[in-house]
């Protein structure tokens, strides 16, 4: 974990779409269509994008599995129950507390946890939580970053100083440490900002924590890009036509930031899911009894010898999802801006 800003935000924008398009023999094609064409050619990225969609689909289908073959829900304890395996009655959790391993059948397909809860069911429901938090946090981060980056870069002066220094302060903290500190502080009473109250057990808490800690990683490159864009001829032209700053920001600057934002989103989602898992692992993410991949790994690690499936299964899901998002994200980046080397590192 580095405390130094490690995000590479070298956007070499002067190469115009026209130039790129001419090189690719697609003169006259819109930049979006061009990017899409490039993405379609990247089979690896598409395959991993598809893998991500499969993971999302599986997680969305969690109730079907829970109510169908598994006959349970993610919260139900089956501590003293037995199931019949190969004609033999088997404890879901032994008297010594060791949970059953994968049965590869409907009930306890991936085994049970130490409370006798169905691991497969919790894995799917946990995925819903991890993905929800990851996606929501990434979207909030993206919106906040675009807003703050644009304001800082376009208005400059005092506004820029305040925003940039605030981002520097957030950046100065290691991401996980800051996340844990915020999570611990908010775990008792929740968050109260004037009339807005968020309960300590709400999923909004990890969403907000993750959104805030990642803002500098996106807002700073956006600010850099806005600083360059505000000096462009089309902005000068808009200014000469009497457009006010708000109009220039909305009509001239923002459309030119869209591809950067799009490139960032999948990578931010991947990082947000990872951070959620880290927070869950450390006990300050999703609150029990709600599952998430991070909390499942955290609980499973304590029983890695007697029930290795408890940590390995959610770990594999996490790796698969993040890998899929990262490879797809790289593909999107290559498609939208082949020269950019956007990474979100911490």
């Amino acid at each position: 974990m580095a405390t130094e800003p490690a995000t590479d935000f070298s956007f070499e924008r002067p190469a115009t779409y026209e130039e790129e398009a001419r090189r690719e023999g697609a003169h006259g094609v819109s930049p979006w269509r061009l990017a899409l064409r490039r993405l379609k050619r990247n089979r690896v990225a598409l395959a991993f994008g598809f893998l991500f969609i499969v993971v999302v689909g599986l997680c969305l289908a969690a109730p079907l599995w829970a109510n169908g073959p598994a006959h349970t829900d993610p919260f139900k304890n089956h501590l003293t129950e037995t199931i019949v395996l190969d004609g033999k009655k088997t404890n879901v959790v032994s008297l010594e507390g060791t949970p059953i391993g994968p049965t590869w059948k409907g009930r306890f397909f991936l085994g049970a946890d130490t409370n006798g809860r169905d691991t497969a069911v919790r894995l799917l429901y946990g995925g819903r939580n991890s993905l929800l938090i990851g996606c929501a946090a990434a979207l909030i981060t993206a919106c906040l970053s675009v807003l703050l980056g644009t304001l800082a870069g376009f208005v400059r002066g005092f506004t820029d100083t305040v925003i940039s220094r605030t981002l520097d302060v957030i950046w100065a903290f290691p991401v996980i440490l800051l996340g844990v500190a915020l999570g611990t502080a908010l775990s008792l009473q929740g968050l109260e900002l004037g009339p807005v109250k968020v309960g300590a057990d709400s999923k909004l808490i990890p969403i907000l924590i993750i959104s805030v800690v990642y803002v500098p990683y996106m807002a700073r490159p956006i600010r850099g890009q806005v600083l360059a864009l505000r000096e462009k001829e089309f902005v000068e032209a808009a200014r000469a036509q009497g457009a006010n700053p708000l109009r220039i920001m909305v009509s001239e600057i923002l459309p030119n930031l869209s591809s950067t934002a799009i490139v960032f989103v999948p990578l931010l989602v991947a990082n947000a899911i990872l951070l959620e898992a880290a927070l869950g692992f450390l006990g300050v993410g999703v609150k029990p009894p709600e599952p998430s991949w991070g909390t499942m790994i955290g609980d499973g690690v304590k029983h890695i010898l007697s029930g290795p499936h408890l940590a390995i299964v959610p770990g594999l899901m996490l790796v698969t999802t993040v890998l899929a998002l990262n490879v797809f994200g790289d593909g999107v980046r290559d498609a939208f801006d082949p020269r950019a080397t956007v990474r979100v590192e911490h």
Partner: protein
């Protein structure tokens, strides 16, 4: 017989003579002390692994790890018998000549120091050192200082904070070695508190020691030294320790105390023999392996006596209704919780643990605690209470297996008709938060490990109105019942032995008649030894200190 043969005979005779002398010397060393030890091999050194004592000052420690290290080095005026099981809960004379009978209507205890006592540094033990220790406890606000505020003038002393001031309730005479302790009101618990190592006299001039990380000298079979506070402590045989009946002498020359917070590694080290004992329980994952592979080296006992239960806040819905509280008691299935505890739970319905005087197995109205709960009956009671569908937040903390305990409890509450959720706090802040009235904790996890083997140590802090006077109370259910308060008042001046039946009645009242708490049992702790230790005869499982290291011995 040739020249070489003659030499061999001479050598053999010399060896035998040395052996006899050495054996006699050993006898001498071990003489005097009684109790403890299974008569195994003594001498040499052993190593004990622990997550560490929490303080080097004998008046400031709070943990079980610390008391095990301090007990062999700090013998108080009274002490506990060095015996396994319930016998170890008996108060016996330590530095004082005998256990005093209270006078002045049960308010005054007179002790006489044994003659010729010396601290480990060779300085004489003075009666006034005892008062100095109690003053330090009170002045420093030590965790156990509350046990001594019943001494006449102690509350004033604490309030004024003037260390040079006298505590009128403690009179000492250095010439005769007489110590008189006078209480505000009769309270037999004082003898138990005085038997703990934090009440052991230490030389006033050297307490605290020059370095806050070094313990002051004490009187005990061993001398405690801190080599590196967070890594290594050492107990060395104390040459100045006199013969005191029923207090064993040091079995080893040195006991190394290796500190590490990695319990997994500690367990591995005991398995491999690098360590001879560990103060911790093998982690949930290693325990089944240890049980299976080394059954002769591990012992499991619900020790020190403890009670695990869910507190039920009687001032808030739904547990302000007895039906709702009874419903919880009916629904709990200790067999499920045994699994959550990895097999280390001994199911019980009693509030008092079985090892305590006053324990009488209850005829539990909610059914046999080792059988499944009665969910149907519980549902019916919830309906009767009028709180069906009521939101309930189960409070717990993040120390394993407490989140799992709370999740089981949440599931049970949902089954019987409540809408339950969980609130998990960090274990460092948990008890101070649930003990604050303003946090309105409805129900949740709690446990109690005895401070000293007296039933009052369970009822007074956990269920009395007196306990509610503190800002943060251990009476998390906010129980304020005149019957309990009156009974506790009556029993305060009686010894547990003479009032055992009355304590048992109180237990019955709390569980069967009022359902103030939902008890599910006591946790067994483990004692895990290396191959060379005699775990069978010298495990030293003690009801106060968990393990009495003075009883440890090697095989053979």
């Amino acid at each position: 017989m040739g020249k070489f043969g003659r030499r061999a005979v001479v050598l053999l005779v010399a060896c035998l003579s040395l052996f006899v002398i050495a054996a006699c010397g050993d006898d001498d060393d071990d003489g005097g002390g009684g109790g403890g030890g299974g008569g195994g091999q003594t001498g040499g050194e052993i190593s004990i692994g622990t997550v560490g004592p929490d303080n080097a000052d004998p008046v400031l420690w709070q943990t079980l790890q610390a008391v095990q290290a301090f007990a062999p080095a700090y013998v108080p005026l009274m002490t506990y018998a060095h015996e396994e099981g319930s016998a170890g809960a008996k108060v016996i004379p330590g530095l004082a000549e005998e256990v005093p009978e209270p006078t002045n209507g049960g308010k005054t205890y007179a002790f006489m120091l044994r003659k010729g006592l010396k601290y480990s540094d060779g300085s004489p033990v003075k009666a006034s050192d005892f008062e100095n220790t109690i003053k330090r406890l009170l002045k420093l606000g030590a965790a156990w200082s509350g046990f001594f505020t019943g001494i006449e003038g102690a509350a004033d002393f604490t309030e004024k904070g003037d260390f040079s001031a006298d505590i009128p309730g403690i009179e000492t005479d250095d010439k005769t070695g007489k110590i008189k302790v006078t209480l505000v009101q009769p309270d037999t618990k004082i003898l138990y508190a005085l038997a703990e190592p934090y009440a052991a006299p230490t030389p006033a001039a050297k307490s605290p020691a020059k370095s806050l990380k070094q313990p002051p000298p004490g009187v005990g079979p061993y001398t405690l030294e801190v080599v590196d506070f967070s890594r290594k402590w050492v107990l060395k045989k104390n040459p100045n320790f006199p013969d005191i009946p029923d207090i064993p002498k040091a079995n080893f020359d040195t006991i190394n105390i290796d500190v590490s917070d990695n319990v997994t590694k500690l367990t591995q080290d005991v398995i491999s023999g690098t360590l001879d004992f560990m103060t911790e329980d093998p982690t949930g994952d290693q325990l089944p392996e240890v049980r299976e592979k080394y059954p002769e080296r591990i012992k499991e006992e619900p020790n020190p006596p403890n009670t695990y239960y869910f507190f039920l806040n009687v001032t808030l819905p739904p547990f302000d209704k007895q039906e709702a509280r009874e419903a919880v008691n009916y629904a709990l299935d200790s067999n499920a919780l045994v699994r959550v505890f990895g097999g280390r739970l001994q199911p019980s319905c009693n509030f008092l643990p079985p090892q305590l005087v006053g324990y009488k197995e209850l005829d539990c109205k909610y059914g046999d605690p080792s059988k499944p709960g009665d969910i149907d009956k519980a549902k019916e009671l919830v309906k009767q209470s009028g709180y069906e569908g009521q939101d309930v937040t189960v409070w717990t903390n993040n120390k394993d297996p407490r989140p799992a305990i709370a999740d089981y409890y949440r599931d049970v509450l949902n089954q019987i008709g409540f809408k339950a959720d969980i609130k998990t706090l960090d274990q460092q802040v948990y008890f101070e938060q649930v003990g604050l009235k303003r946090n309105k904790a409805q129900t949740g996890f709690t446990d109690w490990f005895q401070d000293y083997p007296h039933p009052g140590d369970f009822f007074e802090p956990l269920l009395s109105s007196e306990a509610l006077k503190a800002e943060v109370t251990f009476n998390e259910g906010f129980v304020s019942d005149p019957f309990i308060d009156k009974k506790l008042e009556e029993l305060r001046g009686k010894t547990p032995e003479e009032s055992a039946d009355e304590w048992a009645e109180l237990d019955d009242y709390v569980i069967n008649k009022k359902a103030y708490v939902a008890v599910y049992g006591g946790e067994k702790s483990t004692s895990f030894f290396s191959e060379r230790m005699d775990a069978e005869n010298c495990a030293g499982i003690h009801p106060v200190w968990k393990n009495d290291w003075l009883q440890f011995c090697k095989k053979g």
